[in-house]
């Protein structure tokens, strides 16, 4: 039984190592870019760009969330700060959703691994859906 599985384990391990090795440069590239953006962009920048317009702010929120990336916790903290500064809940919801579902920095990596057409379509639709879900959430909340 041991002999039956050994070649399969070896083969699976080799396959995994090969796939892992192929994506390492992409992951390190993304990490390097994310770290640089985090170092360059001051934390106050995010709140500064919101206009106060209830129609445009969700769009700005989704754009910011899509461009900048990092831990989802960071988006919640930023979102909480935005709310405290008077930014609308729709804009904040679009921001935190786009933060995790849209990735401009990761787009080259996604294109390389899953295909350019797929990456562009998925990010574009996720961007629109972050605004749509933000609106739906706030509208639903208003009925509660």
């Amino acid at each position: 039984m041991q002999n039956t599985y050994r070649p399969k384990i070896k083969d699976s391990f080799k396959k995994t190592l090969r796939a892992f090795g192929q994506f390492l440069p992409v992951v390190f590239g993304v990490l390097l870019l994310l770290a640089m953006i985090d170092a360059v962009v001051p934390k106050t920048f995010y709140a500064w760009v919101f206009s106060g317009n209830k129609l445009i702010d969700p769009l700005i929120g989704a754009m910011l969330g899509g461009i900048f990336a990092g831990s989802p916790v960071a988006s919640y903290v930023f979102g909480g700060e935005f709310l405290a500064q008077g930014v609308s809940l729709v804009a904040v919801a679009a921001f935190i959703l786009a933060w995790v579902t849209v990735g401009v920095v990761q787009l080259p990596a996604e294109s390389l691994m899953l295909g350019k057409k797929f990456a562009l379509a998925r990010n574009g639709i996720s961007f629109l859906m972050s605004i749509m879900i933000a609106i739906l959430t706030v509208v639903t909340l208003s009925f509660l």
């Binding site: 391990f13 796939a19 892992f20 590239g29 995790v100 379509a121 859906m129 959430t137």
Partner: protein
Amino acid sequence: MTAIKAILVKLGDRWIFLAIAGAVYLIAAIFNANLLQAALLRFVALCVKILPVFVLVFALMFVCNFFLDAKKIMRFLGKESGAKGWWLSIAAGVLSSGPIYMWYPMLADLKGKGMKNCFIAAFLYARAVKIPLLPVMIYYFGLPFAVIINLYIILLSSINGLFVEKITKS
């Protein structure tokens, strides 16, 4: 010029992407050493943070390679999978952890074995639900907001997948 082109082709897109990221740091090193230091510190912190996810993804990829072949993938996440494929990909997305880019290689692997684009997109969208971070979300935005937004994400992940499938097929 031909020699450079030959080197670039030999390196492949993945290494060129890493080289471009490295070039950004080289520029920072020339013009702003403080920025370089700050970015490098963040880079190291990020690497340390995602190390456990690296191990998890490697383990999952190994398990997938061991247990799943193209035939099984086609049955669960391929053309004939139906509703089962949606639920599987959305549940896996909700339960997955770590940064989105960590999952690209595994998904690329599964795609090569027959996983449909709609399920990959649904998986990636459902990742917006972060169960371990729910207390943080509730703390900042309240329980009703957290429940409603997460329900919408789960319900509409399939819509995201359907649109992506339609566009990538056209």
